[in-house]
Symmetry: C2
Amino acid sequence: MPRREFPQGVTADSISLRIGHPDPTTLNTSELRAAVASILTTPESYQALEYGAQQGVSSLIGYLVGRINREQGLSLQPDQLMLTTGSTGAVDMIARLHKGAGGSVIVEAPSYADTLHVFRDHGLPLYSVPTDEQGIDAGALLDLLERLKPSGAPLLLYTIPNFQNPSGVTLSESRRREILALARQYNVLIVEDDVYRDLYFDAAPPPSFLALADGVEVLQIGSFSKTLGPAFRLGWLAGSPDAIRRYVNCGTYDMGGGASPFSAHIITEYCRLGHWEPHIAALRERYRRRRDTLIVALRRSMPAGVSWIVPGGGYFVWVTLPPMVQASQVVAEAQARGVMISNGEWYFLDPQDGRQNLRLAFSFAPPEDIDRAIAILADVVTGVISIQ
Amino acid sequence: MPRREFPQGVTADSISLRIGHPDPTTLNTSELRAAVASILTTPESYQALEYGAQQGVSSLIGYLVGRINREQGLSLQPDQLMLTTGSTGAVDMIARLHKGAGGSVIVEAPSYADTLHVFRDHGLPLYSVPTDEQGIDAGALLDLLERLKPSGAPLLLYTIPNFQNPSGVTLSESRRREILALARQYNVLIVEDDVYRDLYFDAAPPPSFLALADGVEVLQIGSFSKTLGPAFRLGWLAGSPDAIRRYVNCGTYDMGGGASPFSAHIITEYCRLGHWEPHIAALRERYRRRRDTLIVALRRSMPAGVSWIVPGGGYFVWVTLPPMVQASQVVAEAQARGVMISNGEWYFLDPQDGRQNLRLAFSFAPPEDIDRAIAILADVVTGVISIQ
């Protein structure tokens, strides 16, 4: 079982609850190796190595459309989905087009730090809307929309509705309906980044925005990174035929011949052989155990004044420290004792808003490490509280 | 030997001199299959499937830096190169940063159509400078720089100096020196897209801009697409440490964990085993034969008034038709007879400038098909001339 931190060079004795990477021991399976070998043994194998179609490998598009329709109760057509260079590639294209239209972006507070980075790279004006244990505060969103209305800028709401990164929160169904109604009223494009959707531990998530909007008005992002391997750089984007056509006709996939064609051929074969569904089912069990280990350890050892949200799936647990305890100090002291965690400040437009928060990833480290790491972390927090 | 058009659905009887794809029969080699299999058999194999470092796989960076230093007479350090999602990924990042700085772009006339598409997606103002058989007209560049000077916008010159796409032209050494001097004088960032560099047929290309500038001031783009396989989506960007740091710290590779990590691990292993150099040497022979076949066929069958540039390497031959013959008509009639070629109009900011030009790719079709295609094409051109 690999223990070594990746990709940063941290000592072999450290435990990472910092990186939101899939469990490395789940990635290299015999089924995957068979798919890799298989695509290079047919007379058509050269197709897996050449430039591909801009929209992506059509049989994989067909597979994903069928799966989304089945699982989300939709009736998408193949022209409503394209492959992207991971969810990153989808966010990047959306950001570019939105910037070109002079738009602004609304994100959740907190939101995924790296997506904020991409939006900032594009120079998009960013606004955030507060969230609670049910997700986005619809009243606060209404206030923000009223405030932004006079600018006339096209608006985009970027949300991670299921098992959010970093908070682990799932947006409730009633909130989804309220937010979709607001989006329609104020003409806001909802972009739902749904890369954790399949990794539910208790119950399947509520209807997606795409399902509530019947396959139009909303853009939904998916990815193979969280279940099959980030290194493949393969995700997808689903939405209305018009929107997908616009993205398919972008220069990036024109020049590059679609998103990650070699990976797409491997994954096409892997899915065709029926390996993905049982793999996902096994991951649900695996990550549920890790979440449970983490939550039990927090309950056992964290001092009073510390709270956390129990996620229904995904990779992350969001911790709130007592008011006098700074996340930065806890992160530094935990690191000094070999435990890597994420500072909540990274996930807010104004870092100050996250100064009492920690994000703990339970995806990467094995349960025994999670257990040990939380004991150390609780000790660190207790120590910081005691010297206040 | 695959004959089927890819990725567009053209009939099996057609011959494509249109797509600038590598010869599909050269891609799936036993050496490549061994590299693919090898990276999934080690205890560290999970690293090939996880998120990677933003700069890319360090051993491949080391390999590429060593090779560039050896071949271009440079002394780059590893912090002067990063992996990118093909040359497309490099162009895309450069375009984004340049757009953010309020810049404009100067391209060659003609230039690579798909890169123009990427620049346009970013909303960058584009200007073009004429070229001849020695490449960019330095006098015309000076005039353009004088004309653009009052705007004060940061300028970027995008050039494909070797075996240009679409013209096949190689920029002469004296022109390179003149252009570098102008770039310094007018503070223009030179971006050399050098993806065909290794595929020379007669003599190695003149010193690169990066070499003439001693590893700074210039950005050089390379790719594995033209020799190993476009589907891997792996290229690189070399330049000053400051410039590379800026690009490494972009949100796209932050969020995605570097460019195409799975592909990068395969190619690292392939290169480590010493397979790339002999493969490139074999490709030089193969594509030289195809160029020769194409040129001999043109000489044999094209009517008077048609001219072409004999490229010293790369994938393309650029044809100029007599003034009264329209490329669009020739392209359509050739297609009706099963021969696919590219309309010169696609490669100019003003399509009218290419209405007497054709781009013929000799990379994809086997020599016997090239021979047959040129006979048909010559017949088409002769027919069009006769009815003027």
